[in-house]
């Protein structure tokens, strides 16, 4: 996966040691991207990085404000810039899921910190790099991983659903605001996948009915690649504008 300058795409993925995040790391590496992934615990980060020569593992918790710039610095140190940010790390809120009336404020706060404030802060810290990527004609993209719980009011999914709804709206507004910079911000709903997060939410689910995270990762990589290819036509327009 390279851009029109034949330089590998530089991608950062949060929540990169399990589920969709890990599958996406592998899918993007397979397509030739350079990847930095972030997760909270050192042992799984080092384990995942050890067997993936072109991936950089970063230990950090996006729900913690003080971790954001250290994460951003390590992403930029590893990749030398950034073209795509995938905010994938998510928190369910209370585990097991409970009705809102039984949800502790702290559990809602954790869901908001992980699913809204974390992506907001990390995107903001990396916005300068994404804008630099845009000025280089590399057509950067932010993907915020969403859910149908962001749209539908499923009982017991209150903390998760409300936080994902906020993230989805944040994506839409930011996308409007950044169109002049040629930075796109989009939501991606991977569907119900067979992941550790889903197992926490629905422990007795019939896993055979769930989507494989690898399949969702291919779809998300297609979204990233489509943005990248769309770039070529945009580029011709930019060149025309400059020389008009």
């Amino acid at each position: 996966m390279t851009n029109q300058h034949s330089q590998p795409l530089r991608v950062a993925i949060t929540g990169g040691t399990s589920g969709l995040g890990l599958a996406l790391v592998d899918e993007l590496l397979h397509r030739g991207a350079r990847v930095a992934f972030v997760a909270r615990h050192r042992e799984p980060v080092e384990r995942a990085a050890r067997i993936r020569a072109n991936a950089h593992g970063i230990v950090g918790d996006v729900s913690r404000k003080q971790d954001i710039h250290p994460i951003a610095i390590q992403v930029l140190g590893a990749l030398g810039g950034l073209d795509v940010l995938v905010n994938n790390a998510s928190s369910l809120g209370p585990i097991p899921l409970v009705p809102l009336g039984d949800t502790e404020c702290e559990d809602l706060e954790l869901a908001l910190a992980t699913n809204v404030l974390g992506p907001f802060r990390l995107t903001k810290a990396l916005l300068g790099s994404l804008a630099a990527s845009a000025r280089d004609g590399r057509h950067p993209l932010v993907v915020n991983v969403s859910s149908d719980a962001a749209v539908n009011g499923y009982p017991t999914w209150g903390a998760y659903g409300a936080s994902k709804a906020a993230l989805r709206h944040l994506s839409r507004i930011w996308d409007e605001e950044l169109s002049g910079e040629d930075i796109r911000v989009t939501s991606f709903d991977p569907g119900d996948m067979d992941t550790p997060l889903h197992a926490l939410a629905v422990p007795d689910a019939d896993r055979s009915t769930l989507k494989r995270p690898e399949a969702a990762a291919r779809e998300l990589a297609d979204v990233i690649e489509a943005r990248n290819q769309h770039a070529t036509t945009d580029d011709a327009r930019t060149v025309r504008e400059v020389f008009q």
Partner: protein, 395 residues
């Protein structure tokens, strides 16, 4: 002038002192900056993010506490972070003004420094006993992790509370290569960049590893600024070329001036890519590219102030200083700003230079400059005859 009290991005009400091309000085707010930019102008800013360049630890041979401030590197490459030039301080923190800090132990080549999780060796002592070349022993990834998680931004004694690294990142901060913030860039925010674009001005960036501004040691400060690596994207160089004859190049920050003028060919076109800005810019410098600069409020004698002398004569800068003083402009990294246009007088000399190269200049620009020359040269002679210095008074 009063030091700023709390760390902050520039507020809309921060002051902006304008010295125009005739040397007239006027007081504005930061929010008025886009109004000073004209259709066709090209605004160029330094998008370097700030490294957490302050590392506390100890000198292994003596056990003495030290603070190491990373201060220079010969490359912007993220893979080349083993070797740095650094200034070493003794015990203490930012609450002690740097000039009152105790000296570190005598540093010898081969001495180890333990800086949190990072370990480094003194490679050699440079032009001053506290200025060293040092080399981290860890892998590149471990160095980045150590800097990111353990390093702190360089602090300022005039601030009441310590800065977090995020406080030192401008809105457009990208690669973390600066040792202190490219602070002029604090004037910009995303809404302003959008506004500039809607006024048919253009916005571009370069990346310049802004070095430390002051060490509290006059011998050391005389060595500043150190050689600073920069990168000019080809898109920025192309915009400068296509913008010639359409509008001014407005540099946000002294680092942008240093990089652009260093990368300028004699005909005013720009070499894109990597370079190392060497030497100082001062009153004798013939500016080839930059027409105006946004900068902080700097004191006479600093290298930043010297650079302004390439834009305006001393009489105009003296008026700027007395206005800044009278209006209590806040100096230093998080304070107020100045916007200094290149003096028409400097421009006149530039015309003579340009005339030798007029084949590369679009005709309207040359014509405009020549008109300005006769009008302003006459004005200048008149001013000299009446014994008044400069073009305009303080408004």
């Amino acid at each position: 002038m009063s030091p700023v009290g709390v760390p902050t991005q520039r507020t809309a009400g921060s002051r902006l002192l304008v010295v125009d091309s005739d040397g007239a000085v006027t007081d504005h707010t930061r929010a008025e900056f886009p109004g000073l930019v004209r259709s066709g102008d090209l605004v160029i800013a330094n998008d370097a993010a700030t490294l957490p360049a302050s590392l506390s630890g100890f000198h292994v041979p003596t056990g003495a506490a030290v603070e190491v401030r990373l201060a220079g590197r010969d490359s912007l490459s993220p893979e080349r972070v083993s070797s740095f030039a650094a200034v070493v301080f003794g015990a203490g923190d930012f609450r002690t003004p740097t000039e009152h800090r105790p000296h570190p132990p005598v540093l010898q080549p081969g001495d180890a420094l333990q800086l949190g999780p990072l370990r480094a060796d003194v490679v050699r002592v440079l032009a001053h006993p506290r200025l060293i070349e040092m080399r981290f022993q860890q892998s590149v990834e471990a160095i980045w992790e150590g800097l990111a998680r353990y390093g702190r931004p360089i602090q300022y004694a005039h601030l009441s509370q310590p800065l977090e690294i995020g406080d030192t990142w401008t809105r457009i901060a990208s690669q973390p290569v600066a040792f202190e913030p490219p602070s002029a860039t604090f004037i910009l925010d995303w809404a302003m960049i959008q506004l500039l674009r809607s006024r048919r001005a253009r916005f571009a960036t370069l990346t310049h590893a802004a070095g430390i501004s002051s060490t509290g040691d006059s011998d050391l400060d005389r060595l500043l600024p150190f050689e600073e690596p920069y990168h000019i994207p080809s898109s920025t160089a192309a915009l400068i070329d296509t913008n010639r004859g359409r509008g001014r190049v407005i540099a946000v920050g002294t680092t942008v001036v240093r990089a652009l003028e260093h990368a300028a060919r004699p005909d005013g076109t720009i070499r894109s890519g990597n370079g190392i800005a060497t030497g100082r810019i001062g009153p004798l410098t013939q500016l080839r590219v930059v027409d105006a600069i946004v900068s902080g409020v700097h004191e006479r004698g600093t290298s930043h102030y010297e650079l302004l002398r390439a834009f305006q004569d001393d009489a105009a800068l003296a008026r700027m200083e007395s206005e800044a003083e009278a209006r209590s402009y806040r100096r230093h990294e998080f304070g107020d700003s100045v916007f200094v246009e290149r003096s028409s007088f400097t421009l006149i000399e530039a015309v003579e230079h340009d005339e030798r190269h007029r084949q590369i200049l679009p005709p309207p620009l040359v014509a405009g400059r020549l008109q300005g020359r006769s009008r302003l040269a006459g004005h200048r002679r008149a001013a000299a005859a009446t014994g008044r210095g400069g073009f305009g008074g303080v408004s």
